[in-house]
Assembly symmetry: none
Homo-oligomer: 129 residues x 2
């Protein structure tokens, strides 16, 4: 499985982790990504996570659910998650397919994602006016 280029990377930047997906992941790779990330939140004492999915030109329901689960697990471990880089086509497909993404914080790109974390990444489950 580790032949060839890395499928994803998890880098630390200050109190944040930047997790980039480099290519389309199959389901087992997604699960590995999930486990690695949750592990790293503990070992790096991360307070925020940016998941960059800009390299994905498709996001099926399993991947979408996995991202949502990752955000929730990260929250239980004390880190806020922002998903960045959802492509226009992907956003279109997700909405058309009626995927539930309600509780996930999103931002345009990595820069905006980090800015969002710096702003204290408002908890998306909080009720705001």
């Amino acid at each position: 499985m580790n032949d060839g280029p890395r499928l994803f990377s998890i880098l630390r930047q200050g109190p944040y982790l930047i997790a980039s997906v480099h290519t389309a992941l199959d389901d087992s790779q997604l699960v590995r990504f999930q486990n690695d990330l949750v592990e790293r939140i503990g070992s790096d004492r991360a307070r925020g996570v940016v998941i960059d999915v800009a390299a994905l030109d498709v996001l099926d329901s399993f991947a979408s659910r996995t991202l949502r689960d990752m955000a929730e697990m990260a929250r239980l471990r004390g880190a806020v998650t922002v998903i960045v880089g959802i492509q226009p086509d992907v956003a279109f497909a997700m909405v058309q397919l009626g995927m539930d993404t309600g509780r996930v914080v999103t931002a345009l790109d990595l820069e905006e994602g980090l800015a969002e974390l710096d702003r204290g990444a408002r908890d998306p489950t909080a009720q705001r006016p």
Copy 2:
């Protein structure tokens, strides 16, 4: 029930209470923990509570609901609650089982939990701009 080692401890640190669960609690023990904690919030005039569940390697739906209820009761008594030390496996299981943990403030460990309280522990149920 009081034979053997203590099942949980509630310690005071300044304006905060640190409640640690030392081992898996059965349902009646959980209820006792809950009652003790709510009592202590009043007697110690606590403004914040950290509940450390790092010793738990499983958190079933009753325990999870009890923790949520404790946080809500503490809030009604004027104290903010942060749950810390949810293990990766536990987080995974909770998310997979779809447990609703939406309103509970979480942090990685005791240190982060106290820091969160010091930051004024943004109440996730509070309405913010």
